[in-house]
């Protein structure tokens, strides 16, 4: 299990770096798909199989499809480097290091090495998720529908010129 975790964790990080560093938008999108799929495998290793498939279906199979469609629609080519501001160059790298250090520190404090074992639910299959979602978290679930409703309205307003 442990080697598998490291393989997919490293893959996720490398792909995430590639999302940022690629110049061609399609390559970035493809790398993001790799990130999302490796995260799904990490969820699996934690025992959350339902979450893992839903991650692939929704993130990799739906949201990223929209990204790719938009890239195809806009005819997005290689991006040209922007006018690099001097300020950003000198401030960017140190700030990034500070941020990373902070993040690492926070994780270290919160989860000491001894407790970083798989802390997932004993059973995170569809049945357990369903029981939890439709018994204990009924209200959040119903609110989701309103959230989706608002998003549907937003999508139509965005894409339709005349309403």
């Amino acid at each position: 299990m442990a080697p598998l975790f490291y393989i997919f964790a490293v893959l996720a990080i490398l792909a995430a770096l590639s999302v940022v560093l690629q110049r061609t938008p399609v390559y970035s999108a493809l790398s993001l798909i790799v990130v999302l799929c490796s995260l799904a495998v990490v969820y699996l290793l934690l025992g959350a199989e339902f979450l893992a498939v839903i991650q692939v279906i929704i993130y990799a199979g739906a949201i990223m499809v929209l990204f790719v469609l938009v890239i195809m629609l806009l005819n997005a080519r290689q991006e040209t480097p922007s006018d690099r501001s001097r300020l950003a160059r000198w401030l960017g790298a140190p700030l990034l290091l500070v941020f990373l250090g902070e993040l690492l520190f926070a994780v270290w404090e919160r989860f000491p090495a001894a407790t970083t074992r798989a802390a997932a639910l004993p059973d995170a299959g569809p049945r357990a998720v369903g029981a939890l979602l439709f018994r204990s978290y009924v209200l959040p679930f119903e609110v989701t529908s309103i959230l989706i409703l608002v998003a549907v309205l937003g999508a139509v307003v965005l894409a339709k010129k005349r309403l």
């Binding site: 399609v26 199989e49 498939v53 990799a60 739906a62 790719v68 195809m72 299959g125 569809p126 049945r127």
Partner: protein, 342 residues
């Protein structure tokens, strides 16, 4: 999880199983093409392939060899990486979902239990859908990378069609999941031992099958490669084995959705079982294959019979008819189930 000592043995067993399943699947794909050519030819009062081998039975072999040695043309100005990635993705994803399909009942011979399935997942059904939902990329990327107008338009159309019908594909089977109370394909089949789901969920089956035909880009939903307007759609610029991979992916997907239709609605491997132990063990597999074959034949029959949709009709049919019908089916099924439980 196996202990360390028998891990290599376990891996070997899995590898053997995977090898057999893939071999059977690839053979099925090859002969599904042969079957299609034969049946469509009969429908159109022709002979179909009959020169290579008896009844043209060696035609798939000849075709495979021919395509393998063809010139692999990579047009100028294509995005090489994505251009090669697209058929690769389409092909490997299409072969992946067969891993959760159960072919027959588990049998115990001399203390060892044999499962006619590579693996049974708690979320098997959703796993197939997850793999299917990734299948869009093969088509979309092929269209994008080819640097051709036909390919791009075909790829866009095809991806819009596939995602639209994916919704109905999912909605159609919710009723079945409700009845069985499980997403494991094995449990769904076992739940049908009394009555096949098709008699309980006829509307669900029609929604599923229609959406599945559209999802696999087949007639009457084969607009992505509507020859009369788009040349070859997203694979216009592909040649040699890269082209064949799209073709094989399409047939692998047909086999997968046929297997799924059999498992979800037609009782999978269930059927009359009799005779000596060996026959008892193999009959379920036979019933399963027979049902899948019927679906393959149905696919070909539809292709030989129906004309093609217009694109706006196709989108309207998916969004305005199948989707609300699917929602209605879910609501009615849940109403009836709740009624009967009280």
């Amino acid at each position: 999880m196996a202990t360390g000592s028998n891990m290599p043995l376990l891996l070997l067993a899995i590898l053997a199983k995977v090898g057999v399943v893939l071999l059977v699947l690839l053979t099925t794909i090859a002969y599904a093409v042969w079957l299609e050519r034969k049946v469509v030819a009969r429908i159109q009062s022709r002979w179909g392939p009959y020169l290579v081998g008896p009844h043209g039975l060696l035609q798939p072999v000849a075709d495979a060899l021919k395509i393998f040695f063809k010139e692999d043309i990579v047009p100028t100005e294509v995005d090489r990486v994505v251009y090669c990635l697209a058929p690769f993705l389409a092909f490997s994803l299409a072969l992946l979902s067969i891993s959760v399909i159960p072919f027959g009942e588990s049998v115990t011979i001399g203390g060892a239990t044999i499962h006619f399935q590579i693996t049974d997942l708690n979320v098997g059904l959703l796993f197939v859908f997850a793999v299917t939902s990734l299948g869009v990329y093969g088509v979309a990327l092929a269209g994008w990378s080819s640097n051709s107008k036909y390919s791009l338009l075909g790829g866009l159309r095809s991806s819009a069609q596939m995602i639209s019908y994916e919704l109905s594909l999912g909605l159609g089977v919710v009723g079945v999941v409700m009845l069985a109370g499980s997403l494991s394909l094995r449990e769904i089949v076992e739940h049908q031992s009394g009555l096949w789901n098709v008699f309980v969920q006829p509307v669900g089956f029609l929604i599923y099958f229609t959406a599945a035909v559209a999802e696999t880009n087949r007639v009457p939903f084969d607009l992505p490669e509507g020859e009369s307007e788009l040349v070859g759609g997203f694979h216009t610029e592909y040649s040699s084995f890269k082209f064949a991979m799209f073709f094989m992916a399409e047939y692998a997907n047909i086999v997968t959705v046929s297997c799924l239709a059999t498992l979800l609605f037609f009782g999978g491997w269930l059927g009359p079982v009799f005779g000596p132990p060996l026959l008892r063990a193999l009959l379920p597999v036979f019933w399963f294959c027979l049902k899948v074959f019927c679906f393959l034949f149905l696919y070909i029959w539809i292709r030989g019979t129906l004309p093609r949709f217009r694109y706006d009709q196709l989108m309207a049919f998916g969004w305005k008819f199948l989707l609300p019908l699917g929602l209605l089916n879910v609501l009615v099924t849940s109403l009836v189930l709740a009624w009967r439980s009280t």
